[in-house]
Structure formats: C-alpha cells, structure tokens
C-alpha cells in the first residue's frame, strides 16, 4: 500500500533527513548514495518516486534522470531534484532531462512532504 520512494544523495545527512521525514509520513524509502547506485536499484526495484540530488560522484542527478526516462519502467515516474541552484538555467536543464519538479535546499520536512504529495497523489 505505502508508496516506495528512492532517495538519492551523496550527503549522508541529507539522505538521512529525507529518509527519516518520508518514513515518518508513511512512505517506504530506499536510500542510494549516488546516481550509479540509484540506477542499479531502480532497475531491480519498483519505485513510485525518485528524489535525487544534483551533484554527486559517479553519476549526477541529470544523467540519472535521463537514464531513468529512457528505462521503460520509469518513463512516467515522477522524479524530483534536490538542489541549491535555483537558477533558471538549472530548471531548464532538469526539465529537459525529464525531471518532474525540484526542491530547493535548504528545505524543512514539511515542505519536502508537501512537494512529494504534489507529485505522488
């Protein structure tokens, strides 16, 4: 019943906060430390939403999004990007890669849940 979310961030504290907050809101959360790990997890699992950081070692958020969109399982799955870069250029880049929405760091747990609810009805 509970929706399964894949949270991707190389910062353990952010990952922990995201995971902690979403679990508290009743979601099932799987954590990945970078884009590569996330993509491998996504291939074997079934996630209803992917929340990813932008700057990460091995594979960044944009590449992850592009690869997920090319994957038949995740063609229409909402993908949220976590970022401190609120600039217009980034939004366009994210949207072009196929991101559904974004969340600007820093954010509080309430905002995170709000945005998740927005794309994951």
């Amino acid at each position: 019943m509970s929706k399964h979310i894949l949270a991707v961030d190389d910062s353990r504290s952010i990952l922990q906060m995201v995971s902690f907050t979403l679990k508290g809101a009743g979601y099932q959360v799987t954590e990945a430390a970078d884009g590569q790990a996330a993509f491998e997890l996504a291939g074997s699992g079934n996630f209803n939403l992917i929340i990813t950081d932008l700057n990460m070692p091995r594979m960044d958020g944009i590449t992850l999004t592009q690869k997920l969109r090319a994957h038949p399982k995740y063609k229409f799955t909402p993908i949220l990007m976590l970022t401190t870069e609120a600039g217009e250029a980034f939004k366009t880049k994210g949207k072009a890669a196929g991101a559904t929405g974004w969340l600007v760091k820093p954010f509080d747990p309430q905002k995170l849940i709000g945005v998740v609810k927005k794309v994951l009805p």
Binding site: M1, D10, S11, R12, S13, I14, Q16, M17, F20, N55, M56, P57, R69, K75, F76, T77, P78, I79, T84, E85, A86, G87, K91, T92, K95, G98, A99, T100, G101, W102, L103, V104, K105, P106, F107, D108, K111, V115, K118, V119, L120, P121
Partner: protein, 702 residues
C-alpha cells in the same frame, strides 16, 4: 535509536573538510584539473546545503561565498591561483572552527570570518551577478483572513506532459483541495483513434474555483509545469459586496467575457429563441465543453452569492482549537468555584446568598453545556479516512471489501474523535485481515464475493455507540480458547461463555493469526484498542457468530472534560466515580461480611456481586466504620461493587489529568478539585474491575 540528524551532519562535515583539504592540496599542484575543481565545488556545495538545512546558518552563509567563487572557476570564468588555494585552506579551517563551536567548544573568531568573506568576494569580477542565494519555492500564501473569491482557471498542459512524470490529474486534485471547484474537461482536441498517441495528453481543463487562497497559491499548484503549460487565471467574483442588479450572469455574457464567443455572434444568435447553449453548439460557434464550463461557472457564482447573505445572517466563525480548549479549562475552573460557592452558601443559612448561589449554579450549568457543545464535531470526518484505508488494504490483500457507514453526522468531543481514530483503525484492520475471507472462499460459503464492513455511530444517552460489523468468518471459538489457555489467561477446565471468551482477544499479546501479515496479527492491535478505549472511559463489547461475522461495539462518553460523578469518602480522603457507571448503593454490615465466609461477595436482590474493598486495595490506614457502603457499578454487562466509608453525593467533576509521575498508578485515572479546594481522585473503574476479578478468581481457586 538513530543518531540525530544534527550529529550526522557534523560528522559528515568533518569528513568533507578532510577530503576538501586533500583536494585543495592537489589543486595547488594541478590548478587546471577539472576533476579536482569539481570535487572542491561539490564539497562546498554539500556543506552549504546541508548546513542550512540543519540550522548551521553561519557555516552555510560563509561556505556560500567560497562556492560562488568555485562556481566561476568551474565555468572557466576565473582561474585558480595560489592565493585562492591558500584562502580556501584558511576558509576550511574556519569552517572547522565553526563546527567545533557548534559542538560546544571555543568561540569562533567572527572578524576572521568577515575578513575571509571579503577576500573571496575580491575574486569575483566586477559585474558579478547579484548573489544567487538559494531561493525557496514560495510558500503558499497564508489563507488566513483572505476573502473568498471565485477564479476561472484554464489549464492546458503541454502534449508531452506525461514524459516528465507529471500527472495532470494530481494537479487538478491539488487545485480542488484549495476550495470548492468545478472542473470541466475539454475533449475537443482528442484526435480520431488512428491518430491517437497514447502517451500524449490531449485534454485541457476549465476550472471554476471558489477559494480563500490567493492567486499565488493557485499558481503554485502549477509551479513545476508553468513553463510548459498554458495556464490562465482570472478572478470572476471578488467576494466583496453583492452588486444587486447584476447578481446572475447570463451564459452568453460569460462566454463573451471568456473570449470564447464574440459579442456580435451572441447578439445574432440571441434573436433566435432556442436554448442558448444548444444553439451555439449547433452553429459551431462554441464547443459543447466550452458551454459546460461556462455553465459550471454560472452555477459556482450563483451558489457563492446565495451563500453570502445566508452566511451573513447566521454567520459561523472559525476559532483556533486552542482557544476552545482554554475556554473549556476556564469553564472547568468556574464549575469548581461554583461548587465552592454552593457549599459555602449551604453552610451559612443566608437566604440571599443561597438564592445567588442557585442562580450562579444554573448559569454555570448552562454555560458548561454550551461550551462542551462547541467542541462537538461530527464523527464523519474520520469515517471518510477509513474508506481509503479499507480500499487500500483490501486491494493489498486481494480481497473485495466495501465499507458502509451510517451516522456520520453523530457529534462527539473533538479530542475524543481524535483519540478514537487509532483504535478504530485497528478494529477495521482486524476485520479486513482476519474477518473477511478471500472472495473465492466467500463464494464457496455461499456468501457474496464482496465482503461488507458496516461502521455506524449513534447517540445513546450521554454516550456514543460506535459499531463495527463485518460479514466475515467470525471468531474461531476453539482457537481463541486454545490460545487463552496457552497464554495462561484461562484455566484448562474453564468454560467461559462465548462473550467472555471473545473479550479475551483484547488481552495483551493475544493473537490467533496463523501468519503475521503486514496488516495485523502481531497481537498488539487489539490490546492497544482496549487501552485506548479505557483511556477514553469507554467500554468494548464483542459478538461473533461463526461463519456469519463479528460485531464490535464501542461505547464512548460524549466528553472528556467534565463529567457527572458520585463523590465518596474513605477516611478523610475523597474519591469520585463516573456516575454513568453507577447502578446503586447498598449498605455492607459486619454481619454481611461474616456471612460471606471471607469471600468478597455481596447479595444484591438475589444476585451475588463481587466487591472490592477500596480501603484495603489502596492500603489506607484507619478503622472501617461498622456500616460501610458498596457502590455497585456496571461495566459491559458486568457488575462489581466498590466498598467505601460514605457516599457523599453527586458531583460535577472537572477532570484534571495526573502528572507524569502518577500516570501509571493503578486504579486512578485522574483528579478533580472539590468545592472546599481539596483534591479528590477519580477512580479508574475498568482497571479496578479487572483487579476485583483477579482477586475473586484467586479466592475461588485458592
């Protein structure tokens, strides 16, 4: 326990700083290495981002300055210099100092921070863009105090909206949550089936929304898609005064206003006398969907305007719940003072004072009833949540279950409704998981494939009865008996009635489920239910018939704040019992005690009723009076007496909860303040009843 996120941040930041140091030293040797520059940037970026999130604002702001410089480096706008690396190393040390300070050591040298910030800013080209400080998503504007307005929204998503993982229906749903909405889907762009591409969104929507939210809040709904969808927003009714002359807009006017029809065409068509909408569609001037949208708008406006004068006449107010709680508290204090006044007046034999006291008593009673009434809410709000629960759970378990509800309008105290939620969830989950069978099993048993759970609430005296009835397989008597014996709740030879046996499922750690599912079956649920209901001073009753289903009835007092009770005394101490549980009071003489041969039983009209001597139970000192009183209570069909010294009389009890220290005291559920200012303890009848039963059992077997 998980480590606190704050600690995790600091730990991680230290690691990042160590990495940063290595990277910076590497950068000194290879100032052009893109990889190393990227690493430095990322480290700064993470420290800044998480720093701000975990409340380390100083670190975040400082790191931002360095990140800005490295952003330029990364984009080849400026070059790494030896000086820059030196400064970065100093900055790294400064961040570390800030982290140390946050850990409770040493002070940070703020002037040093300022100096470094200045130095980093000097790297920026003169025309550097204004600080790209993190701009948060604008929070939905506070709805408080905003006027109700009606908006016309047209949302036309890009054809490829699905490819971004966006579900336009979710956006519409979110929009609908802002207020009262009428949504009309426009279907005219859907091509013939051969040309239809299933991954393209052909629909667009017209929404008429009546809400207190402002334009920004509405636009926020579409924030992720604003660049690739067409969204128009216009206010069509500002909620201000009624412009009497023009209170109903005609369809034609609205269509013209929306730009769907020209005024001249309208004029021409109006001369023919057919229903306007039909005619317009026939003439191909507007599409049926557009007419429907305009009609929806007309209705919304009419409704909005109809509501307004009515709302003025019998206006309702929104009041914060805390204010109501405070009011109830104050009324509670008032009730206490009033009983003190009555007591004083009674002792004075002053006719004037007595008259005033009686008048005050009457008013206070009225005020109390009125106040408690304000807090009453219909229970239906919780019911709708259960619909969702049943739907999701039954789907997960592969069952087909419908939830029927009745009595959603039944009113109960706000706090009670909130605290009733969890136990009801447990009961319903249990019904879904253990009660209702799989569709195939049901079919074989000659029942409809679809199971039904019936949830109803009705008023009954000063309480509300909530019934949860399912048409599942019923409780398994033998399994429960076996389990009860195994758990030591029942002796091998005991043959309790079905009713008593079934009540055992509410005992701690009791579960007969064969397998533990994610839904229920850990044997905690029903135990929790019992405790939650007890805490609400309610009772549980259960009936079940094998193959036919199970009915659980929960009886809950209407309010938790002030109750009618019976005041009794033991020695110098006072206690109160909820009056709703009291049946009668009888005398207990030394002769009666002797006649019972040491067992705590008293004969009440040819029936033996067990009793609990409270003086002994609470280990109170002092001699028993020759004639004691037994207060006979009835709970869930069971009668138990409580022996006290005197019965004083009825009392309005304002319930005060006990402090944390006393929360677990057995047999006491709270306290109240009496008219003379002394404290009386409220007896926890259900808990005492269990105690009495246990004692009686020991006496019988021992």
């Amino acid at each position: 326990m998980r480590e606190r996120p704050n600690d995790a941040f600091r730990e991680e930041a230290y690691e990042l700083l160590a990495e940063l140091e290595t990277s910076l030293l590497e950068l000194e040797d290879n100032p052009r290495d893109k990889d190393v520059i990227g690493r430095v940037f990322r480290a700064m970026h993470t420290i800044k981002g998480s720093g701000a999130m975990f409340g380390f604002d100083e670190i975040s702001a400082f790191t931002h300055e360095i990140e800005t410089v490295f952003d330029l480096v990364r984009n080849d706008e400026i070059l790494v210099t030896k000086e820059m690396v030196d400064l970065c190393l100093l900055a790294r040390d400064q961040i570390k100092a800030m982290l140390d300070a946050a850990g409770g050591h040493l002070e940070v040298d703020r002037s040093r921070t300022a100096h470094l910030v200045g130095a980093f800013r000097a790297f920026l080209p003169q025309a550097a863009p204004a600080e790209a400080s993190p701009a948060a998503i604008p929070a939905p504007a506070a709805a408080e105090g905003a006027a109700t307005r009606t908006w016309r929204i047209r949302f036309r998503p890009a054809h490829d909206i699905f490819a971004n993982g966006t579900n336009p229906l979710a956006l519409l749903r979110e929009l609908c949550e802002l207020g009262e909405a009428r949504v009309v889907a426009q279907t005219d762009l859907i091509p013939p089936i051969d040309d239809l591409h299933p991954e393209v969104c052909y629909l667009y929507w017209d929404v008429i929304l009546t809400t207190t939210a402002d334009a920004n809040a509405i636009r926020d709904v579409f924030i992720f898609v604003e660049d690739d969808c067409e969204m128009t927003l216009a206010s069509i009714d500002d909620g201000g005064c009624l412009d009497d002359g023009d209170s109903r807009k005609l369809l034609g006017e609205i269509l013209v206003e929306r730009g769907d029809l020209s005024a001249a065409d309208l004029e021409r068509v109006l001369t023919e006398r057919k229903r306007l909408g039909e005619v317009l569609v026939e003439d191909g001037l507007v599409k049926p969907g557009q007419v429907a949208a305009a009609l929806a708008e007309q209705q919304a406006l009419e409704k909005q305007r109809q509501n307004r004068p009515a709302a003025d006449a019998a206006s309702s107010l929104r009041v914060p719940a805390e204010r109501l709680d405070k009011l109830v508290d104050l009324v509670g204090e008032l009730v206490t003072v009033q009983s003190r006044l009555s007591q004083t007046a009674a002792g004075r034999e002053d006719a004037v004072l007595t008259a005033v006291a009686e008048e005050v008593e009457r008013l206070v009673e009225e005020l109390r009833d009125l106040t408690l009434n304000i807090r009453m809410l219909p229970i239906g709000t919780t019911f709708s949540k259960f619909k969702r629960l049943v739907r999701d759970l039954s789907r997960e378990l592969g069952k087909d279950i419908e939830l029927e509800t009745a009595g959603a309008e039944t009113e109960l105290d706000k706090t009670v409704i909130e605290r009733l939620n969890d136990p009801l969830v447990h009961i319903i989950r249990n019904s879904i998981d253990h009660g209702i069978e799989m569709p195939e099993v049901r079919q074989v048993a000659g029942k409809p494939r679809q199971g039904t759970i019936h949830l109803s609430a009705i008023h009954s005296g000063d309480s509300v009865v909530i019934e949860i009835r399912d048409d599942g397989k019923g409780l398994d008597r033998d399994a429960i008996r076996r389990k009860a014996i195994e758990k030591g709740l029942l002796g091998e030879q005991d043959e309790p009635s079905d009713h008593d046996l079934f009540l055992l499922i509410f005992a701690a750690g009791f579960s007969t489920a064969q397998t533990v599912t994610s839904v229920s079956g850990r044997g905690v649920g029903m135990d929790v239910v019992r405790r939650a209901i007890d805490a609400l001073r309610g009772t549980i009753d259960i009936h079940s018939e094998k193959g036919r289903g199970t009915t659980i009835r929960v009886r809950i007092p209407l309010t938790l704040a002030i109750i009618e009770s019976l005041l009794v005394a033991i020695g110098k101490d006072r206690f109160v019992l909820p009056l709703s549980l009291v049946e009668e009071c009888i005398e207990l003489t030394e002769g009666d005690v002797a006649a019972a041969h040491g067992r705590n039983l008293v004969r009440v009209r040819d029936q033996l009723v067990p009793y609990l001597p409270l003086r002994r139970w609470f280990a109170m000192e002092g001699a028993r009076p020759p004639i004691e009183q037994v207060v006979i209570t009835s709970l869930g069909g069971q009668r138990v007496g409580f022996v006290v010294d005197h019965v004083i009389g009825e009392h309005q009890t304002v319930i005060k909860s006990l402090g944390r220290m006393y929360r677990d005291v057995q047999g006491i559920s709270g306290a109240t303040i009496l008219g003379d200012g002394s404290v009386a303890l409220i007896l926890d009848v259900p808990q005492l009843l269990q105690g009495a039963e246990a004692e009686e059992k020991v006496a019988t077997h021992g």
